[in-house]
Symmetry: C2
Subunit: 188 residues, 2 copies
């Protein structure tokens, strides 16, 4: 039997809130969809992972190719409000918070180890943004043998066209793509 | 100073040759372009990595979501002609051959360790196919702090449209995209 976990990726103030220079255009629209999916996982007491990009203030842990950008205008700095999870998706006691410094939730984190320890066999992926943190996490999940499920309307990008192009590539390798309303059916 | 290495990914008979059910449509067209780039790296005695997907005959090392497909029609089986590098790009003595069982050349291989040992600071990426093995390798290179260079015309996909959509995503995160004729300029 499948045992699913929910991954909510990068839904942090710096990447979601109006007025933030690092805001992903498609982020706001997915909030209510992630809330729906999250409610289903909470109702069933299934594992929930809030996965956050968090950087040291000096940027020493940022990807080399992004360090200039970070120096000019830091993002997701540890301890700041910008790095915090948006209020609408605030983590509850018993949920896992994992921090990362890269796009994929599997690089340099305890995610794989935690999933194995919990006996998780598949991950439902939500958050932002489709071509980067979402897609690298999905491809790594497949590589580590967790058949990933992408929740289409709970994942956002800068444009709908970028979102769709990435969805097609993921479907082509066998990623299951569902919508938030399908999720309860998969969990029952 | 930058010290580059060349990665040639999955240019194996099963994925390239006419008549193979696993042939990538865009593979043949990139052969002469990879040959040009390879000649430049050989001329300068710079490191060359032939990176190959190789599976055990029983398929036990295939990604779970691909195991059914493999059982029906195996691909890249160790020791078969299908798994061998195409004649046009046959490895020479002194070049590295790394085998992998996943898309990214960094997963479960000694690539990162070899690049560090050789003092390599950047990788030029060629081969097939753009949305899968190429892109996961490029994103992992960025994550591991090798500012990757994608050689546009030496990388192929099933369709030009898929190729271009992926190129755009990679350029958006700061991947340098060049053509094979630009390569000598970067190496001098």
């Amino acid at each position: 039997m499948e045992r699913p976990a929910l991954l909510i990726i990068d839904m942090q103030n710096d990447f979601v809130c109006e007025g933030s220079p690092y805001r992903v255009a498609g982020a706001s629209a997915v909030i209510p969809k992630i809330q729906e999916v999250l409610a289903e996982f909470r109702k069933r007491k299934l594992p929930v992972f809030h996965i956050l990009r968090i950087h040291r203030q000096d940027g020493s842990d940022v990807e080399i190719i992004r360090q200039e950008k970070f120096k000019k205008l830091p993002f997701a700095v540890a301890g700041t409000n910008g790095a915090a999870v948006i209020d609408e998706l605030a983590p509850r006691s018993g949920e896992f918070i994992l921090t990362k410094t890269r796009m994929s939730a599997f690089i340099g984190t305890e995610l794989d180890l935690m999933l194995r320890t919990l006996g998780v066999t598949t991950v439902f992926v939500t958050g932002i943004q489709t071509p980067n943190c979402i897609r690298t996490t999905v491809f790594d999940a497949i590589a580590y043998n967790y058949p990933a499920v992408l929740v289409d309307d709970a994942v956002g990008a800068a444009t709908e066209e970028i979102h769709q192009a990435n969805l097609r590539d993921m479907e082509n390798i066998g990623v299951r793509v569902v919508t938030s309303t399908d999720v309860p059916g998969f969990l029952s």
